[in-house]
């Protein structure tokens, strides 16, 4: 229904997670929340809590250690959810690409919907990316979203999934 889609688009709550970045993008992200750029006028709230988040803003090139934690947080976010990779590092590794301790970007771990490049990504670009994310959010439903290699396991199961077992499975890979 149109009115429910309106609710989805007009009230995105974000979760900001740093997977090993230099904090440059994080500073720009927090600047977006300040009075100068003021994303709260879009209804955005920085709830630090994945269970109440719709948009995940991930910075950083995903260090090997952070991979598990990123998966942990990603699976706690209820659908519909949108992942926004902020900064060149999370888009494809950035300055840290091909180093021994990184996964070269968020897309190697979880499915990404919007890429916001930049080093550091400017607040205006971040807002642009978030608005794009809102449009994608409008289209999404409640269907379970998991990384590709898990799609086989959860295919056909509509509900009652134990997310902790999914996490265990993903961790082992």
């Amino acid at each position: 229904m149109k009115i429910f889609e309106l609710g989805k688009a007009k009230s995105p709550w974000i979760l900001h997670y740093n997977t090993g970045s230099c904090n440059g993008c994080d500073i720009e992200l927090l600047a977006v929340l300040t009075p100068r750029y003021d994303v709260e006028r879009f209804g955005m709230l920085n709830k630090g809590n994945p269970k109440q988040a719709d948009i995940l803003l991930i910075t950083g090139p995903v260090t090997k250690r952070c991979r598990e934690r990123l998966l942990n947080l990603y699976l706690q976010v209820p659908e519909p959810k949108v992942v926004v990779a902020v900064g060149t590092c999370s888009c494809g590794g950035g300055v840290f690409r091909h180093m021994y301790n990184v996964e070269n970007g968020v897309e190697r771990v979880i499915p990404v919907d919007v890429y916001v490049p930049g080093c550091a990504a400017r607040p205006q670009q971040i807002i642009d990316g978030v608005v794009k994310a809102l449009q994608i959010l409008r289209e999404k439903g409640r269907a379970l979203e998991v990384p590709p290699h898990l799609k086989k396991i959860v295919r056909g199961r509509e509900g009652g999934i134990d997310r902790e077992s999914l996490l265990e499975d993903l961790r082992r890979r």
Binding site: E68, R69, L73, R163, L167
Partner: protein, 617 residues
């Protein structure tokens, strides 16, 4: 009504008979049968008495030598115990009591034609509590003793438990103060013996502490006897109420304060928690400690509206708040329950101090419902102790996974102590109004602070028990004795809660009528349908029923309704793969027991001194 004279005698002699029978029974199965038969007999007798009350009275002068003999036997026993265990306080107090008693009977002779045995609304309520709640607890103790206790001496254990029930009944029937003294000391004996039952060092030390503190109370009662005979020429409470005699009553109040472990006498009740849990449930929460509020309610016509009444209400209110604050820092579950008992008894004593029909309604409500709720909590604590080895609050973590029924019992008990629509909350609600109407604002301020702290105390118990993830596994297997005894309490508690209006119109009505000689209706109070109507206030039936339904349906829904199509997820731990270890808050640095005791025990002593002063003046 001089019909069923046999009933009071039956209610004193039947427990004695079962005590004797249990003591001579040589094997556990025989004692089991004796106990169960005794329980059922006592329950039926108590209910019969309540139906036939009030005002069955008669005079029994011929039993006086028996009373004296009992007194001296107890003095001899206590002296012997003091010598054997080298307790100077016990020896001195016993000698003092014996000396005073001897001097009294040699010098003072009192003629009196008042009835010795009075059964009115208040006594029959106490008999109901003792007979129903008490005997179910004795039945529960059978199963409790089977797990790891010394079954060899169990015959004496059961004997003393039944003897205590008889002594309680006798005390609430007594109108003659000398009789009250004997049965007061008899309950002291029962408490001493049962605390000492396990026989280890801590038990013996704590039982001696309980003994000398209760003997102090007995000394106060004896002083009340002497003063009432000397200054008022009578030994009967009904006569004293007519004369509005303050001096002996002040001493009786002191005795009541000791027996219900109010400030500064709270030490003995906390030490008494080393006894087996049925003892804690029977003596130290449901019945014996209720002697204090019973005596103060009994004499409330004298002290209501006087300075003494004001100080009594203040003492009760301060005990209420301080005891609940001290409960916050307790690590042992039974000690927390002991402090909560002391606090609720303080609440009942406030009602006696105020003495208006509304206050008596509050006191009776608190009395009846506290016996049930606290009895239930102690029974649950006993099951947790024996079946799951959980003695401290930390051990109770996640009990709902191991034993859902036990966890449910403990949660129901804790919720019934704090929240509407249960009786303790209703009593608190009524006490607030009674204090406001009689313009006693300082006890009121202490009470409202205490009620907030009380919620924290009971929620702390709940906070440990309910921790789990996922569904509740299968229900645990509990012995049928456990399930029947706790189930009876839950049923009576739930039934009385939902039928509170009926409770008001019958039990409360009788008690108020006996004490204030006015009807509830005359004071503008009554039950209507499911709700309660007061003079300046009303509780609507829909509120009572709605909240009750919520509280009862929720746990059932939590067990049966499994939300099958919904994803299960894990807790938020910042992404870390860990299981946090959860502890509870104890506030020992700010609200530690020693620190608070150092401040408030002298304060309690000062309050007791003021009580005596207002009696003298």
């Amino acid at each position: 009504m001089v019909g069923y004279e046999g009933l009071p005698a039956a209610l004193i002699l039947a427990p004695l008979f079962f005590a004797l029978l249990a003591t001579v029974s040589s094997s556990h199965p025989v004692r089991k049968v004796v106990t169960y038969v005794g329980t059922l007999t006592l329950i039926s007798l108590s209910i019969a008495l309540w139906i036939k009350s009030p005002m069955i009275l008669f005079i029994r002068e011929d039993l006086y030598p028996l009373i004296l003999a009992g007194d001296y036997l107890l003095f001899a026993y206590f002296l012997y115990q003091g010598v054997v265990f080298r307790s100077r306080l016990v020896i001195y107090l016993t000698i003092a009591q014996a000396a005073l008693m001897t001097a009294f009977i040699k010098t003072v002779h009192v003629q009196g034609k008042a009835p010795t045995i009075v059964v009115d609304g208040l006594s029959s309520l106490m008999v109901l509590v003792t007979g129903v709640v008490g005997s179910v607890i004795v039945a529960y103790s059978i199963r409790y003793m089977e797990t790891g206790e010394d079954l060899g001496r169990e015959n004496r254990f059961l004997g003393v438990m039944f003897l205590f029930l008889g002594a309680m009944n006798a005390l609430v029937f007594s109108n003659n103060m000398e009789w009250i003294f004997l049965f007061y000391e008899l309950t002291t004996f029962a408490s001493y013996y049962l605390i000492k039952y396990r026989g280890d060092e801590e038990s013996i030390a704590n039982s001696l502490q309980a003994l000398w503190m209760n003997q102090l109370g007995g000394l106060a009662v004896l002083m009340a006897v002497i003063f009432s005979a000397h200054f008022y020429g009578t030994l009967f409470l009904t006569e004293l109420i007519k004369e509005k005699a303050l001096l002996p009553i002040a001493f009786l109040v002191l005795g009541a304060m000791v027996k219900s472990a109010q400030l500064p006498f709270q030490g003995w009740l906390l030490g008494a928690m080393v006894a087996p849990t049925p003892v804690s449930a029977l003596l130290h929460s449901s019945t014996m400690v209720k002697i204090g509020p019973y005596l103060i309610l009994r004499i409330s016509p004298i002290i209501s509206g006087t300075a003494l009444g004001g100080v009594v209400a203040l003492a009760g209110a301060i005990t209420f708040t301080v005891a609940l604050t001290m409960a916050l820092s307790q690590r042992k579950f039974k000690r927390l329950l002991a402090y909560s008992t002391i606090a609720t008894l303080g609440g009942m004593i406030i009602c006696g101090g105020v003495g208006t029909p509304l206050a008596i309604m509050a006191g009776v409500t608190l009395l009846a419902f506290h016996a049930l709720s606290k009895g239930l909590l102690f029974l649950g604590a006993g099951i947790a102790e024996k079946e799951f080895g959980a003695k401290t609050i930390e051990d109770l973590l996640g009990l709902v996974k191991k034993g859902p029924i036990t966890a449910g019992i403990i949660t129901f008990g804790a919720v019934s102590m704090a929240f509407p629509p249960f009786g303790i909350f209703l009593g608190k609600w009524l006490v607030i109004q009674a204090l406001v109407i009689s313009k006693q604002y300082i006890p009121l301020a202490a009470l409202v602070i205490g009620s907030g702290i009380g919620i924290m105390v009971y929620m702390k118990i709940v906070s440990r028990v309910l921790v789990r993830r996922g569904f509740i596994p299968s229900l645990e297997k509990l012995s049928s004795v456990y399930t029947i005894s706790t189930g009876t309490f839950v049923a009576i508690l739930g039934g009385l809660t939902i039928m509170y209006a009926f409770f008001v119109d019958t039990i409360v009505e009788k008690a108020v009528e006996s004490l204030t000689h006015t009807t509830l209706l005359g004071a503008g109070i009554g039950g209507t349908g499911f709700g309660v109507v007061l003079n300046a206030d009303r509780m609507e039936p829909w509120q009572l029923v709605a909240i009750f339904t919520l509280i009862v349906l929720l746990p059932l829904a939590a067990y049966f309704y499994k939300w099958m199509g919904v994803d299960r997820v894990y807790e938020y731990t910042c992404g870390e793969p860990m299981k946090p270890s959860i502890g509870a808050y104890y506030f020992t640095d700010r609200l530690g027991e020693e620190r608070l005791s150092k401040v408030f025990t002298p304060f309690g002593v000062a309050l007791m001194a003021v009580i005596l002063l207002t009696g003298v003046a």
